[in-house]
C-alpha cells in the first residue's frame, strides 16, 4: 500500500504531517477527523480542532501532552488524549514536527489486538525507524519530494532502497 507524507498544517510553533494513501481523496488525518465528528458530534470535534490548532500555533507538540502507547521511547509513537475511545496516533519527531494520523475506535484492550490500529501504529513505527536509521532523511524532505512509502500489510516499509535512491538522486 502506497502512502505519501503530506504536510497538512503549519503554524508558528510546529508542522503537522499526515499520511495520504494512494488513490484516496482525503489524507488520513482528515478521514479520521470526519469519522470522529460523526461518532462524537460537533462539540468534541470543535474542541479537538481547537486543540490541534493551538499546539500548531501556540505551544508546539510537547510529548507530555500525549498518551504513551507503551512502546519503546525511541519509537516516539503516541496517541492524542481526550478523544475517548477514538485513537489518533502520532509519530513525535520533535516538539516542532509530528505525523498525526487516524486510527479508529479502539474496541480491544490492546491496540495490538486490532489489525487496523496495529497497521497504523506499525506504519508510523516504520517511518520512525527509517528516519532513525538514515539521518540524512527528514520529514520535510520526504514530504517535499513526494516519495512513495510502500507499506506491507503488516506496516513494514518494503521500498527503503528505492526511497534512499530517490533522495540521493534528488528526484
Amino acid at each position: 500500500m502506497k502512502f505519501k507524507i503530506f504536510r497538512y498544517s503549519q503554524g508558528s510553533k510546529g508542522v503537522i504531517y499526515t499520511l495520504w494513501k494512494e488513490g484516496d481523496e482525503l489524507p488520513e488525518l482528515e478521514n479520521a477527523l470526519l469519522e470522529y465528528k460523526e461518532i462524537r458530534g460537533e462539540r468534541y470535534f470543535y474542541e479537538l480542532i481547537a486543540f490541534i490548532r493551538g499546539m500548531c500555533e501556540k505551544t508546539g507538540f510537547r510529548v507530555e501532552r500525549f498518551r504513551d502507547e507503551n512502546l519503546t521511547w525511541k519509537d516516539g509513537i503516541y496517541a492524542l488524549r481526550g478523544t475517548a475511545e477514538y485513537r489518533f496516533y502520532l509519530y513525535h519527531n520533535s516538539s516542532e514536527r509530528i505525523i498525526l494520523t487516524g486510527g479508529g475506535v479502539k474496541t480491544t484492550k490492546l491496540f495490538q489486538e486490532d489489525p487496523k490500529l496495529l497497521f497504523v501504529v506499525n506504519c508510523l513505527k516504520s517511518v520512525s525507524k527509517l528516519l532513525r536509521d538514515h539521518p540524512e532523511l527528514n520529514l520535510k524532505l520526504l514530504s517535499d519530494s513526494e516519495i512513495d512509502l510502500d507499506f506491507t500489510w503488516s506496516g513494514e516499509l518494503s521500498n527503503i532502497d528505492e526511497i534512499l535512491e530517490k533522495i540521493t538522486n534528488g528526484s
Partner: protein, 115 residues
C-alpha cells in the same frame, strides 16, 4: 498530487464557536504553565502527581491541553506550586484581543485601498 498540494483549506481551518475556542485556549495555557513550572523545578509527572496525592493518569489528563479544570483543582495547584493562573487567562484574552485588532486593521487597510 499537485491538486492535493493546491488544496486551500483543510479541516483545521474550520470555524470554531468562540466559547469552545476560548475554553481550549484556557486549558492549553493552564497546562502549559504547569508544564513550564515542572521543567523549572526539574520534577516529572509522577512526582507532581505524588505531591498532590493524585494518580499519574489523572495528571496526564490535566496536562493534555483538553482538560476542563475545576476551580478546586486550580486552587490546589496554585497554592502548592505558587502559580498565578490569572496570568493564563490574561494572556489568552490579550492574544485574542490582539488578533481582533489585527483583523480590524487589515480590514481598514483593505477599505482604504478600495477608496
Amino acid at each position: 498530487m499537485e491538486a492535493k498540494k493546491n488544496r486551500r483549506t483543510n479541516l483545521l481551518d474550520t470555524h470554531i464557536p468562540k466559547d469552545i475556542s476560548r475554553y481550549i485556549d484556557f486549558s492549553i495555557m493552564i497546562s502549559e504553565m504547569i508544564l513550564q513550572k515542572l521543567d523549572e523545578l526539574g520534577i516529572n509527572k509522577r512526582e507532581f502527581a505524588r505531591s498532590l496525592g493524585k494518580k499519574e493518569s489523572q495528571i496526564s489528563e490535566w496536562l493534555s491541553g483538553m482538560h476542563n479544570f475545576t476551580l478546586k483543582t486550580l486552587a490546589e495547584i496554585s497554592l502548592k506550586y505558587d502559580l498565578d493562573f490569572s496570568e493564563a487567562f490574561r494572556l489568552t484574552l490579550s492574544k485574542s484581543k490582539e488578533k481582533k485588532q489585527h483583523a480590524i486593521a487589515q480590514k481598514t487597510d483593505q477599505i482604504q485601498i478600495h477608496l
